[in-house]
Amino acid sequence: MTENNYIYAPSEHPADKFRCKVPMKGTRQLFVIDGGVQGTAAPLSIKFDEGNCSDEILQVIGVRTSSGPKELSSESSFSFGQNSQGRLILCSHTFAEDPFITKEKIKISLAPNSSVDIVLMQNEHNDAEHISEFEIDIQRDASLRMVFLTLHGGKISNNIKVNLNGENASCDLNGLYIVDGKQQVRNLVSMNHKDPHCYSSQLFKGILDDASVASFSGLIHVWPDAQKTQAYQENHNLLLTKEAKVYSEPQLEIYADDVKCSHGATNGRLDENELFYLRSRGIPKKEAQLLQQQAFAYAVLDKISSEELKERMVSLTEQRLRGEFSKCKNCCKNCC
């Protein structure tokens, strides 16, 4: 990693600076406070050098505080050099109950033969609106896996544009959104297959309670030259109440004739047969329903490659589904 572009969280934390009290083993933390990197206030720009294959996970924790403006626009970029391997955890939190609007542009570019793993966790309060635009460019033989976990937030919108630019580029996009109350989540995916032999898959799952609203709109666009494309898309939603609403909109635009593409969408309720089976073994209805929801979410959580992170996210998801505010074990949430 290029040092200039990479500001490590200092090992000694001044009392007034943010830090994570329960960092995961093998991770480095970097804080972005109200849009600027902690320490320099500069926009975030991370470069992984050519051939860099560190096992370390870089965790970028974006925090909104009451000292920042109500409305904020920021840009950040992540670029991965040829043959590099990178692992990122991107978190966004709000640490004040003020109404926030955050507009973010995130550029992610993968040079040929790089391999990148990103887990994104969105955990904000009910008065927070967060609009993120992802522009992702994946070149020849490079592969990206991304997991979006939208656990909490007033109005969260992820606009994800992926360009597969070069043969054998691959992108595995996954998302889990859990909404209740009047929360709203929108995921807008545009997967562009521009070259032959590329692979993409999308799996987005949502659990909606109360009067929440979610939408998923996923486009697979296969360009005329992109023969031998494989592109798959699935969106499944679990509606726990009659008031919850979901809009699921798969779109396929295919201009090549030798491709494998599929999409599927379901919106449904908890399965009654499963529920009876669980209850017949002595599990109370509420716990049984929770197990069903956890099981539903698991397919997405299972895409997290770090076992430790997966365990944490499974436990955060459980807390969230139990209606508790999700935070890591022993975390005091105020990050300082």
Binding site: E274, R279, S280, G282, I283, A295
Partner: protein, 247 residues
């Protein structure tokens, strides 16, 4: 232990059980036989508390208490176990998580502390041996990708974990080859105790070669039309149901 009096149950407008009377005492094995559509599976679902069926009249007493108002989980805690004809697949819920949750709910009801992971796994391994189940099944999703035989073994394994007072085994033999049938039946026999009882629901005599009943009932059109000893099952095997229905 179980006392069913003039039980009527319907699904929607359709009456399926039309006055069932049945008494089961501790230590007994009862077999309920009958042609398709006679109400066998309905009876087992109603006993387990499935709310798709409405009990329109009659009583079900279990250990002297009316259980009609109890939820499925309360009936399980009380000691009733239903072995499903078609065990449900639950992707994402592992067998171990499923059973640990269930066993700890049973323990909680008895005022016991939840089992820790090590103690639980030990018991789980012991009980899996009862049905010759491969330990690797514990980390798999409940019944997901299990063969017919494996699913039924998993039912008996769950029964072994929960140690019910009354087990109702609904068509446990359906879809089983001879080896699986032997394993399942052996499991049931191993779990037999003087203070528990079993109701075996089946189409065929075959299972009853392995699990020998004390009493055999023939269910037809929502009523028990004949009750006798185990020889009745053999007679049904030879002569079918017609002579009972028309006789």
């Amino acid at each position: 232990m179980l006392n069913i009096k003039d039980l009527h149950a319907s699904i929607g407008e359709k009456e399926i059980l039309k006055g069932i009377n049945l008494q089961v005492k501790p230590g007994e094995i009862h077999a309920i036989m009958g042609p398709n559509g006679s109400g066998k599976s309905t009876l087992s679902s109603v006993l387990a508390g499935r709310d798709t069926y409405t009990v329109t009249s009659g009583e079900i007493e279990f250990e002297g208490k009316n259980i009609l108002e109890l939820s499925p989980e309360e009936r399980s805690i009380a000691g009733i176990f239903l072995g499903f004809q078609y065990p449900i697949e639950i992707p994402g819920v592992t067998n171990v998580n499923f059973m640990r949750t269930a066993v700890n709910e049973h323990r909680k009801a008895k005022g016991l502390e939840p089992l820790n992971a090590a103690a639980f796994l030990k018991i789980m391994r012991e009980k899996m041996e009862v049905v010759e189940m491969n330990p690797s099944f514990s980390s798999r999703g409940v019944n997901v990708g299990f063969s017919g035989g494996e699913k039924k073994r998993n039912e008996i394994f769950q029964m072994a974990m929960l140690e019910p007072k009354l087990a109702i085994l609904d068509e446990t033999d359906s879809g089983l080859d001879v080896d699986a049938l032997r394993i399942v039946a052996t499991g049931v026999n191993k779990l037999k105790r003087p203070d528990n009882a079993t109701i075996v629901i089946t189409h065929y005599q075959r299972l009853l070669d392995y699990i020998v009943p004390d009493i055999v009932h023939i269910l037809y059109n929502g009523q028990i039309i004949k009750t006798a000893g185990k020889e009745l099952a053999l007679e049904v095997e030879k002569r079918g149901y017609d002579w009972l229905i028309n006789g």
